[in-house]
């Protein structure tokens, strides 16, 4: 095999990971900046410096990798910020929007460079709008004066002391100027016996911080010129000190380390195996009749505790704050509001809330849909807002919090709220409800989650293709989450998402089906019952329904649905597991036996398998066996197709020798 660890590509990967952080810093700074400008307050210069530093380091790294398009834009943007540093008070919020757009473009260029695709155009236009007014006011600040950090060597001659001067004065002045390090050189100091008290023996080496220039330093020594040896040297910048702006606490965070995701996944796997091994051990010891009071049992308990701790710790490694996700939504909002001409701002709350990275990845699409919907359907036009005494700029709040072991995300807009009459009319139109039905306000609101109901009259190119909220709801359900809605006409709409903190572990019921183990997610299960106690009714060609607690559920022969054996007579002692899918439809999954109910570690089947209808993932059971995790909603949908598939697993077993 060829060498997979190309050192250059590793460096590059590091650079792009750093770029993501820098973009985050830049956007944070711009938001703070926008708030201060919008609130009429003064802007903390450190905020501008942070933004400037972020762009500068991106430029520096991009230069090292020869990413010219990126360097050029970053350089242009950097110059703009340099100008902003001079005339920040005059910036309007629209200019800040332009800066935001510029930072979005910078992020695009980074992505393009990372994926090796052509850089998106438009950078020059953005820079043009940004720098046109500013450059007229201030000539380019480009050529910054020669700055440090500086290293000074200062060695007074005997004459310095003889003329009534003191070495202490310039040293004190230097400290005021920002000398960070002062070292005394005592190498020339002789033994006490040989010491001449009137002779000068001492010298000093000092480091002075970056933002001073040479003249400022040299001035301090005006009085002692000729009475000392003085050298002012420009300290070679260290690799990460590529910025000339001062570093202060704003950029300090707790030390972190970048780790390859694959390594963490491997760690997860091993820890999962450890947990399985530990449970096998416990099981075997129980089987040979281990005394629960014995010392061995006690030690086994300790091991169990440690294993669980270890598992929890690994989970926290995978946890990430929702902030990058939320910031991406900021961009979606900016683009949508610009496209629709509805000014809006995004208020973020609880961005530091942490959740498993897989949840974050899979939340991106549904949230994006929801933000677009909020701007498109939720917010009124600026004139309509002013007419109803609201500020012309809409506010959309995105908040995250941990509640009762789940992640709760709220999306609130201060728009017009849902138009219940229109939703109702449309639902009647489509035959979802009938004219006489009495529905509560919330029940009508919930109709927007129904497939094919879009409330926007004219189809805009942003949303409104009729695949809105039902897609969102399906995506959230796939994550094991729930979505609810609360709307107040005239005052806005609030969506609340509740999600599990991790997708890596879940509660499942282990069942056996024709000798194979399967896991059914507990979250989907309503109840279990013996098949023979159920009221079965034939329906359609060869579908069967069962009636449980006043409702019909579709009967699904799991073994046949998965192609393990052909559909046919169901065993009399079979068990029916009643499940409800995200769309509320019920199914009775027929299995041979319920084995156990336990927490399982979810293993992805992606990579080499394609998608397997009815199966969402797999897990490894206590005895090392693999069990597939089924998706009841999918199983119900795939059944009709399977009947046409000739090859079942049993058929295949029979076929193989005959080939």
């Amino acid at each position: 095999m060829t060498d997979r660890r190309d050192p250059m590509s590793e460096l590059k990967a590091g650079f792009f990971a750093e770029c993501a952080e820098r973009i985050e810093q830049l956007q944070d700074a711009l938001v703070t900046f926008g708030e201060s400008v919008g609130g009429g307050g003064t802007v903390d210069p450190e905020v501008i410096n942070t933004a400037f530093r972020a762009i500068h380091s991106i430029k520096g790294g991009a230069g090292a990798f020869g990413l010219d398009a990126l360097v050029r834009f970053a350089h242009g943007l950097e110059s703009v910020f340099d100008l902003v540093r001079g005339e920040q008070a005059d910036l309007t919020s629209w200019q800040i929007n332009d800066l935001m757009r510029a930072s979005d473009h910078l992020a695009d260029l980074i992505d393009a460079a990372r994926d090796g695709i052509t850089a998106p155009p438009g950078g020059d236009d953005i820079l043009g709008t940004l720098s046109a007014p500013a450059s007229a006011i201030m000539p380019a600040l480009e050529a910054s004066p020669l700055t440090g950090p500086w290293t000074l060597r200062f060695r007074p001659h005997t004459a310095l002391y003889a003329s009534g001067n003191d070495a202490l004065f310039p040293l004190l002045a230097l400290r005021e100027l920002g000398a960070t390090e002062i070292r005394c050189d005592v190498a020339a100091l002789p033994d006490l016996a040989a010491l001449d008290p009137e002779e000068a023996y001492l010298g000093w080496t000092l480091t002075v911080s970056a933002e001073r220039n040479e003249t400022e330093i040299a001035e301090l020594f005006d009085f002692v010129i000729g009475l000392c040896d003085l050298a002012i040297l420009r300290k070679p910048p260290t690799t990460n000190a590529i910025t000339d702006a001062p570093r202060t606490q704003a950029s300090e965070t707790s030390p972190t380390m970048r780790v390859d995701l694959e390594r963490i996944d491997r760690l997860m796997n091993v820890v999962g195996e450890l947990a399985i091994g530990q449970s096998i051990l416990a099981q075997s010891l129980a089987e040979i009749g281990l005394d629960r009071q014995s010392q061995l049992a006690e030690r086994l308990d300790t091991l169990t505790g440690l294993t669980r701790d270890l598992q929890d710790s690994v989970m926290t490694i995978r946890a990430q704050p929702v902030k990058p996700l939320f910031q991406r939504m900021g961009r979606v909002l900016r683009e949508t509001s610009a496209a629709l001409g509805k000014p809006a701002r995004l208020v973020l709350e609880g961005e530091t809330t942490e959740v498993d990275r897989t949840v974050i990845e899979r939340l991106s699409d549904p949230l994006m849909h929801m933000i677009r919907n909020a701007v498109d359907h939720g917010l009124e036009s600026p004139s309509a807002r002013l007419a109803s005494q609201k500020p012309s700029e809409g506010t959309i709040t995105l908040a995250a919090a941990h509640r009762a072991g789940r992640l709760v995300i709220e999306l609130h807009d201060d728009g017009r709220g849902l138009d219940r009459n229109r939703i109702r009319a449309k639902a009647e139109d489509r035959g979802l409800i009938s004219k006489g039905d009495i529905l509560s306000g919330t029940a009508i609101d919930e109709l927007i989650f129904h497939p094919g109901l879009s409330t926007c009259e004219s189809l805009s190119n942003v949303s409104g293709r009729g695949v809105g909220m039902d897609v969102v709801k399906t995506a959230i359900s796939r994550l094991g989450g729930r979505i609810s809605i609360a709307s107040e006409p005239g005052w806005g709409t609030r969506f609340t998402l509740s999600l599990p903190l991790t997708l890596a572990v879940m509660d499942g019921m282990v069942v056996s089906v024709t000798g194979q183990m399967l896991v059914i997610p507990i979250a989907a299960i309503l109840e279990t019952a013996a098949l023979r106690t159920l009221d079965r009714r034939a329906a359609g060609y060869d579908d069967e329904l069962v009636r449980i607690r006043g409702a019909f559920a579709k009967l699904i022969d799991v073994s046949a649905a998965l192609g393990i054996r052909r559909p046919g007579h169901l065993p009399d002692n079979a068990i029916a597991v009643l499940t409800a899918s995200e769309d509320g439809s019920r199914a009775a999954l027929i299995v041979d036996a319920v084995i156990d109910q336990r927490q399982i570690v979810v293993k992805s089947l992606r990579g080499g398998f394609g998608s397997i209808p009815g199966i969402s993932a797999a897990t490894i059971l206590g005895d090392g066996q693999i069990a597939f995790i089924c998706d009841p909603g999918e199983l119900a949908r795939t059944l009709p197709v399977d009947r046409n598939q000739p090859a079942t697993v049993e058929d295949r077993k029979c076929q193989m020798p005959a080939r």
Binding site: M1, L562, G608, I626, A627, A647, V649, M656
Partner: protein, 150 residues
């Protein structure tokens, strides 16, 4: 490309009466037989999945994949865990026989033949002693054996 004098190590194995090799650098490990859990809706050459220390690994019935008669070995068969084109899989074979050291220049491209399951997966031919060995193109083999999304 690498020069012709470079030594390539090939792991030779048996599939019934037939002999094949794979590049040894693509082999991650050899495992004794363990019954794979069959995958629903999978093609016949995909025997199922096994638990490889916590990772779920697809296992190919290589004989069926290459259009050969099925293996008779039962639980005496061996699983070669190989990785190519970013994809790992287990390959069921009768037995692993040898490791051959061959100069790259001694590997010949296979002649164009009527395309069947086998020829598209052969990357080179060589003579070892007077025996012809076929080197499997693992990347082609593994990348074409995904379950089609239904």
């Amino acid at each position: 490309m690498s020069d012709a004098g470079e030594i390539v190590e090939l792991l030779a194995f048996r599939l019934g009466e037939e002999r094949f090799c794979v590049d040894v650098t693509a082999v991650r490990e050899l495992r004794s037989w363990g019954r794979p859990t069959p995958l629903p809706h999978a093609p016949a050459y995909l025997s199922g999945v096994i638990n490889l220390r916590g990772t779920i690994l697809p296992v190919l019935d290589l004989a069926t994949r290459l259009g050969l008669p099925p293996l008779a070995g039962g639980d005496r068969n061996v699983i070669i865990v190989a990785e190519a084109a970013g994809q790992s899989a287990g390959l069921i074979v009768d037995a692993v026989s040898d490791i051959h050291r061959v100069e790259r220049g001694a590997l010949e491209a296979p002649p164009a033949m009527a395309s069947d399951g086998q020829t598209v997966c052969i990357s080179a031919l060589s003579l070892i002693g007077d025996q012809m060995v076929r080197v499997l193109d693992l990347a082609a083999l593994l990348s074409t054996t995904v379950v089609d999304a239904a």
